[in-house]
C-alpha cells in the first residue's frame, strides 16, 4: 500500500481476532500531515483518545480541529444520548435517531457529514478524507446492514464518485474524485454475527482496497502483533 494520500480510494479495513484501529490512527495522522481536510466520524472512541494517540504520532489533533482542518463528529456521544435522554429532550435532532426509531434511516447522519465537509453548494472543498471508526458499532446498536450500506453508498457518491477500481488505468485525471474514504469493520472469525458479516460483504463491494488485519496463525507473539493482507 502506498504510504501517500490517494484520491478516489475507498479503503476498507477489517480485523479478525485483533484490533485494527491502529490503521485508523495511521490514516488520520497521514492525511492530516498531507494537508487534507479530514472528517472523523467517531463511533467507538472519544476525541480525547484520538488526540492522545495523535500526539504520540506527532499530530496535534486539537490544533487541527481549531484550524478547521479536522471535523470531528462525536458519534459516541450521539449514540449515548439516544439511549439516556428522553424523546422530548432533543432526540429529534440527533443524527443517530435510527437507533431508537426503526423506521428512520441514517440520512440525518449523512446530512451531518455533508454539512461538515462540503461548501454551501454541496461540493467538496479540496482533498477531503472521511474516516469512519467503526461501522460495526452501528450494527451492534441495532442498525440494519442495509441502512449502513445505504449510508456508506451516499458517502461514497459524495467523496469518490469516480473512484478508482479495477479500471484504474482507464480513469482520466480530470475525472478524479476529490475525496477518499477509510472505514473499519470488525470481522472476528470466532463470532457468529450474520448481520455484521453481511455488512462486511456490502462494504467489500463498495471498497477499492481491502486491508485485512489478523493475528498470527502461529499464536500470540510479543514482538510481532499480527499480519495484514492487502486485496
Amino acid at each position: 500500500m502506498e504510504d501517500s494520500c490517494v484520491r478516489g480510494q475507498f479503503v476498507l479495513i477489517s480485523d479478525s481476532l485483533t484490533d485494527g484501529s491502529f490503521l485508523i490512527h495511521h490514516f488520520l495522522s497521514l492525511y492530516i500531515k498531507g494537508g487534507w481536510k479530514v472528517c472523523l466520524l467517531a463511533l467507538a472512541q472519544s476525541f480525547g483518545h484520538y488526540n492522545a494517540v495523535g500526539q504520540k504520532l506527532g499530530v496535534p489533533l486539537t490544533q487541527a480541529r481549531e484550524k478547521g482542518q479536522l471535523r470531528f463528529i462525536d458519534g459516541l456521544k450521539c449514540s449515548l444520548q439516544m439511549y439516556t435522554c428522553a424523546p422530548q429532550e432533543g432526540q429529534g435532532e440527533n443524527p443517530l435517531r435510527a437507533l431508537r426509531d426503526k423506521k428512520a434511516t441514517l440520512r440525518p447522519l449523512y446530512d451531518l457529514v455533508k454539512t461538515q465537509i462540503c461548501s454551501e453548494e454541496g461540493v467538496l472543498e479540496g482533498p477531503t478524507l472521511l474516516l469512519v471508526d467503526d461501522l460495526s458499532v452501528l450494527v451492534s446498536l441495532g442498525v440494519s446492514a442495509k441502512d449502513v450500506s445505504d449510508f456508506m453508498h451516499y458517502c461514497r457518491v459524495l467523496m469518490c464518485p469516480t473512484q478508482q477500481g479495477y479500471c484504474r488505468v482507464l480513469m482520466c485525471p480530470t475525472q478524479q474524485s476529490q475525496g477518499a474514504i477509510v472505514s473499519l469493520v470488525h470481522k472476528d472469525a470466532d463470532v457468529e454475527d450474520e448481520e455484521n458479516s453481511t455488512l462486511f460483504r456490502h462494504m467489500a463491494y463498495h471498497g477499492t482496497v481491502h486491508l485485512a488485519v489478523e493475528g498470527l496463525s502461529s499464536g500470540y507473539s510479543r514482538d510481532v502483533h499480527g499480519q495484514s493482507n492487502l486485496y
Partner: protein
C-alpha cells in the same frame, strides 16, 4: 458457451452473472456492455452500484442510454437533480419497462444491462424483481412500443439467500457463476482471466452445464473455452504403493503350503461344530460355552476374525 452468449451466436434472453466478494464480476459485465453496444441498436444501462463510466470504456456510448440509480437512489439529495437524465427511485414502484418507455430514443429491439440486482433486492421482495424482469422480457413492439432482445444482470450471490438465487436461476436462460476471481490488471494491462460455471437453457429445452475458463483482453473482448478435467494417474500410483509387508524382515512371516493347509484345518475353540464329543470328557467351561456360527452374509475372515485389523 460464455463467449457464444456474449457474441450473440447462442441466443439467450436473460443472462445473470453471479459473483461474490472474492470473485469480482465487473470485468465480465464490462465485456457484455461493450459487446452489446456493438451488435445492438440501443443499450439501456441501469447502473446502481457503479457510475456509468465504469462500464462504458471502449463502448460506443452513443448507443447507450443510462438510467442513473447510483447518484441518488433513495432521493436523499434535494438539490443538484438533473431533470434531463432518467433517475431510478428505489422508493417508488419498480418498473424497468417504464424507464425504457420514457427515453426519447425509440429504437427496437434494445438490450438491457442491470448493475446490479442487489440494490433492487434490498428494497423490493424477490417476486417483485422477477415480475419486473418478466414484464421486460415479454415486452412487444405492438403493445408496448418496444422490444427487448437481451437482458444482462449482475447478482451478488453472497448477499442474498438461496431462495432468491433459485428464483432468478429458474428465470435465467444463462447463469454464469464465477468461481475464480478476475486477477487484477498488471502494469502492462494483461487483462483478466478466471473460471466460471455456465448453465445455459436453449429454447429446444436442452440444458448445458459446463465449467469454462475465460480471458478478457485489455480491449474488453472475452474469449472462453471449456475447462478440461485434470488427468489423474490414480491407478498407476496405487499399484506402485502396494509393498509386500513380509519382505525384508529379520524373521519369517511367510507360510509354506503345508503350513497353510494345516492352519486351515485348525478348529477354533469357540466355533460350533457338529462333531460328537467324547462322553467322558468334561466340558471346558462348566458355567457355559460360547459358540459362534456365522450367517451366510457374514464375511468371516480366518486371518482377522475380530475384523479390527487395518491392513
Amino acid at each position: 458457451m460464455l463467449q457464444q452468449v456474449l457474441e450473440g451466436t447462442e441466443a439467450s434472453s436473460l443472462v445473470v452473472i453471479e459473483d461474490c466478494v472474492d470473485h469480482d464480476g465487473r470485468p465480465v459485465f464490462h465485456c457484455f456492455c461493450s459487446q452489446l453496444a456493438k451488435r445492438c441498436e440501443s443499450v439501456h444501462l441501469f447502473h446502481l452500484e457503479n457510475p456509468a463510466g465504469v462500464f462504458l470504456e471502449g463502448a460506443n456510448i452513443s448507443k447507450v442510454q443510462s438510467h442513473d440509480g447510483f447518484s441518488d437512489p433513495l432521493q436523499w439529495e434535494e438539490q443538484n437533480r438533473d431533470p434531463s437524465s432518467d433517475r431510478i427511485d428505489l422508493a417508488s414502484a419498480l418498473d424497468f419497462l417504464g424507464h425504457l418507455k420514457r427515453t426519447p430514443v425509440k429504437t427496437s429491439p434494445v438490450a438491457v444491462v442491470i448493475d446490479s440486482l442487489t440494490p433492487f433486492l434490498q428494497n423490493y421482495p424477490g417476486y417483485v424483481i422477477c415480475r419486473a424482469l418478466q414484464r421486460l422480457l415479454r415486452a412487444r413492439l405492438e403493445s408496448d412500443g418496444i422490444e427487448v432482445s437481451q437482458v444482462v444482470a449482475g447478482f451478488h450471490g453472497d448477499l442474498h439467500d438461496d431462495s432468491t438465487a433459485a428464483a432468478l436461476r429458474h428465470m435465467a436462460t444463462t447463469w454464469v457463476q464465477l468461481q475464480e476471481g478476475a486477477e487484477s490488471p498488471t502494469q502492462g494491462g494483461a487483462g483478466f482471466h478466471g473460471n466460471c460455471e455456465v448453465l445455459h437453457r436453449r429454447k429446444s429445452g436442452k440444458v448445458i452445464r459446463q465449467a469454462e475458463v475465460y480471458h478478457i483482453s485489455p480491449q474488453w473482448s472475452l474469449t472462453s473455452r471449456v475447462q478440461k478435467a485434470p488427468v489423474r494417474p490414480v491407478a498407476h500410483v496405487e499399484q506402485e504403493a502396494q509393498v509386500d509387508p513380509t519382505a525384508n524382515l529379520t524373521f519369517n512371516l511367510r507360510l509354506t503350503d503345508t503350513e497353510k493347509e494345516a492352519r486351515s484345518r485348525v478348529v477354533l475353540p469357540y466355533m460350533h461344530h457338529h462333531r460328537k464329543k467324547a462322553p467322558n470328557k468334561p466340558a471346558a467351561n462348566p458355567g457355559g460355552q460360547i459358540f459362534y456360527q456365522p450367517d451366510d452374509v457374514d464375511d468371516f475372515d480366518e486371518e482377522d476374525p475380530d475384523d479390527d485389523l487395518d491392513f
